[in-house]
Symmetry: C2
Subunit: 214 residues, 2 copies
């Protein structure tokens, strides 16, 4: 199977790292939903990253749906079976995805639109949601330290590290490096692991395309 | 547990119908992420609909993550255990979610922004993606008719009907009623079921607030 999308999208990157941690084999094709629009469109007319193309041609989209399918194909799991811990994991993933989504919305406002088409009240609203999401995520990572372990990465802990690094790279002014120390430290720890180094944000940047949502 | 959000959000509505079909008991609190922003913010500072508040205070967000958690709490499933059919279900849900997301993006462009802040190339791009997504969804519904059965609703078949009704209500000019006949007929069938009538789009409209994403 083939994962399509650039690793500077946090949704693509968390999918790539999750698939690899689940022990699944896949090719990665780094295509931008902007720069490579027409090539991407031939593979998936909806031009959505990540796209996971299965061997029978089925195209899966949406990082959460892809990873749920991947879980069912793997002999092990990056989720907790204990209901209370599974709920916490889903809360953390949901919060990290909001961090990604709100960052993407801010980036889109500044990079897709000409200056005179930006709408300040909208940006202010998103920035407030982003701050709240990171505040909540930092608190969750502090309270549930056992869920953040590089020896046993989970969908939640991967999403958290990927989100933090993405926002720091794309909109550093949104996050002081010391504003959420637990997230900063967790991101630093994760970026040293083999899985994160195999699917790095930086390499993707050399491709020059912007990030895609979901 | 309590589901927060208005049923004119397709993400909230598919969650409500999915939870009820899984046999889970919940209260529904209809709050708008726009009109009821400050009240919503007290319950969830990220102001994200749907939010599922568990009895221990855990706040789950994102319809796919909520429904994945709900599956684990239920004695039955709205997914297929057969891997090939599960892949198809995930493909259909992913495509329906793109239909919802692209519709929301068009609605946001027209309802959140003043006219002089709209960006035509962006709208054109989204409209093209929306058309492709509905073309694909109609084809999937035609090819996999066994997956669309009101006697055995699944996450995929629910998402499809909810998406179609949402776009027809919010941006009817995007979808001729006869452009995608299989989707039109499936939506009509679903809207007659008890589950869809219990969580209707129309009632929510009387609340007057707009739709929220994810």
């Amino acid at each position: 199977m083939k994962l399509i999308g650039m690793l500077d999208s946090p949704f693509v990157r968390r999918t790539a790292i999750g698939l690899s941690q689940l022990g699944l084999t896949f090719d990665h094709q780094s295509l931008s939903v902007f720069k490579d629009y027409s090539t991407f469109r031939q593979l998936n007319p909806m031009v959505k990253a990540p796209t996971l193309l299965l061997d029978d041609g089925t195209a899966l989209m949406d990082s959460s749906l892809i990873l749920q399918y991947a879980e069912s194909m793997s002999t092990h799991s990056l989720n907790h079976l204990n209901p209370a811990l599974f709920a916490k994991e889903q809360q953390i993933v949901g919060t990290a995805l909001i961090c990604c989504e709100k960052t993407v919305q801010i980036v889109y406002e500044y990079q897709i639109r000409p200056e005179d088409k930006r709408h300040e009240p909208w940006v202010k609203r998103i920035e407030q949601q982003l701050q709240e999401a990171y505040r909540q995520l930092n608190q969750l990572a502090n309270t549930h330290q056992a869920l953040f372990d590089t020896k046993k990465l989970s969908h939640a802990s991967i999403a958290t590290a990927v989100a933090w690094n993405f926002t720091r790279q794309m909109r550093p002014e949104q996050l002081g490096n010391d504003a959420f120390p637990r997230l900063r430290d967790w991101s630093a720890e994760c970026e040293k692991t083999e899985a994160f180094r195999k699917y790095p944000y930086d390499d993707a940047m050399s491709g020059g395309g912007p990030w895609a949502s979901a």
